[in-house]
Amino acid sequence: MAVSSKYFPWAKKAQETHHNDHDPRQHLMLDPKPRGEMNQMVMESMYTTSWKFWVVFGILSILVALCFFYAWGYMIAEGLGVAGVNRPSFWGIFLVNTVFWIGISHAGTFISAILRVFKSEFRRPFTRAAELMTTFGLIQAGASIFMHLGRVWLAYWLFPYPNERQLWPNFHSPLMWDLLAITTYVLGSTMYLFLPLIPDLAMARDRSTGWRKTFFKTIALGFRGTEGEWTHLRTAMNIFAFAIIPVMFSVHTIVSWDFVMATRPGWSSTVFGPYFVIGALHSGMGAVAIVLFIMRATMKHMDYFIRAEHFEAIGKLMLIISMGWAYFFFNDYIVQWYGGDKWTDTLLHWHESGPMSWMFFTMLIVNIAVPWLILWNKKWRSTPWLLASVGLLINVGMWFERYIIIPVSLTINRMPFTWKLYFPRIEIFLTIGTFSMFLLFYMIASRLIPLVPVWEVQEGQMAHSMRKVGKTQVPSVSEFE
């Protein structure tokens, strides 16, 4: 017997909600505007700068000057003794930040490459904002490694060249793999950011005057949009989309091998590779939610391009990734717990009941409980501020996770007489410096390049239409390629 809303009033309400959900105008792809208007909106969002922007810009600039450049300069002048790293925790916040920023950088590739390969249409308006995250995140990761080096001016020793001291890099060392993998990822993701930017730079060139015209003209490289140019660009973007995915996986797997290749308690785990990758995606997707929320809240016209549907889709991904992270965390934990190694047992006990146990339990709550409790609900995950808050909490949780893996785990080793809890010193300022610089780069980018790939949005809108199926209209997508 058919269910009738006459007998079940809530069914009628649900049906109405269902109809509202399927209003095509709420989907960016089904709510097209003329390209000229969209161009104008994106250009206005770049050129409209309020006094609040400059206040935040000023504060961040001061923080970068003091906490990044001055603090780093001071550490270079005084030596690594001003940092908290010491026996037994020689790897402190610098490497926590390195792993954290590399993790953040994974979101860009995930959104842009994986979703492009799978033709997920919701990605279109925010691929660039996510790709920028990759480049800016990797800059901070690189800076954190150089901070950790201490004598940063000797970084060139990592490269093979004949020298009278017979100092040769060992290409069979995980640290060397790190250098090569991160270099590949930085260069690859920056090129991948630039290629789809070219048509939008040409658009900006056509609408600018003065120094901006010269700037856009130079970096648009003379792009006109000929059939040949589009073909070369499309081919290159396809190659990049497929090739950057294994590079992305390799980078964070290799970062995990920096730990796993050592025979330390808590680190010797075969599941660390995928556990690190899923952790990277966890923090990265959270960061994308934060960036999109800020963009939408602070930049003109962004509410047209970034809509509830995008937050909803990101929220779903965050929920799935959170489940994946919980799965790998438990895999790592149960095997170590079951193993019965004396030092590993001591370390696990230290995590759960030591002075940093608050961090351990906060990590579990914000990485698992919070997303699971909030993101199952469509309405909640479609609410920008709520999703951004969950993203922020996940990032706090993921930073804690790296802190637990690195300095907290280093406290416990097989020589109890060396046990000592790590307390960061100048690292705290340098951490503030890297975060400030990341935000500052975003602010600068938002004034210099179109953050929304307008041509990709228009291409998507051209491919979408409504199709009648039975009694209802459903969105359909044409495959142009």
Binding site: W168, H172, R224, G225
Partner: protein, 173 residues
């Protein structure tokens, strides 16, 4: 007989495709026609021949070069100098695979990027036929035709729905 280059601007793909068909009927070959657009319009939508690109071949070349460079780092450098690592042979395979992978990918991506530059002649700041309306989503078709038949072409393209038709001007971008 002197030739001139005309540029016609279209709002949408359909009239542009009709116009190209009409140009073909009037004896203009595909080689004499150029299309510029603000979004990638597939050749088959406009009834145009597929564009040739060497980007994937250049990428493949880069991958091979990267593989060879990775092999040099992996097996060449230990011959130049040997860094003994406990329990490992001088030429261990598993760490070598990591190096080979990273270098292959790096060189392939660099070659792909460079391929776009080479194939598209970027950067190119010389004056070229262009109209800024293209980045507003319009489609521009420019083609060579005999100067004394110019009016005939303008009339035919107007019938196809061209918004404007005129001599193509090379402009500084």
């Amino acid at each position: 007989m002197s030739e001139t280059t005309l540029l016609a601007l279209f709002e949408d793909i359909d009239p542009a495709a009709d116009a190209i068909e009409k140009l073909h009927e009037m004896g203009v070959t595909d080689e004499q026609i150029n299309v510029i657009s603000g979004v990638p319009v597939m050749e088959r939508m406009l009834g145009r021949p597929l564009q040739w690109t060497n980007v994937s071949r250049i990428a493949l070349g880069g991958a091979v070069a990267g593989f060879l460079f990775g092999a040099f780092l992996n097996w060449g450098t230990p011959m130049l100098y040997n860094v003994p690592v406990g329990g490992q042979s001088t030429f261990p395979v598993p760490p070598g695979l990591i190096l080979l992978f990273e270098m292959t990918m790096l060189f392939m991506l660099l070659a792909t990027f460079l391929g776009v530059f080479l194939e598209s002649y970027f950067p190119n700041y010389r004056p070229l036929e262009y109209v800024p309306e293209v980045s507003d989503g319009k489609i521009a078709i420019f083609f060579k035709c005999p100067q004394d038949e110019q009016e005939k072409f303008i009339e035919a393209l107007s019938e196809s729905g061209a918004e404007s038709i005129g001599p193509a001007e090379a402009r500084q971008l």
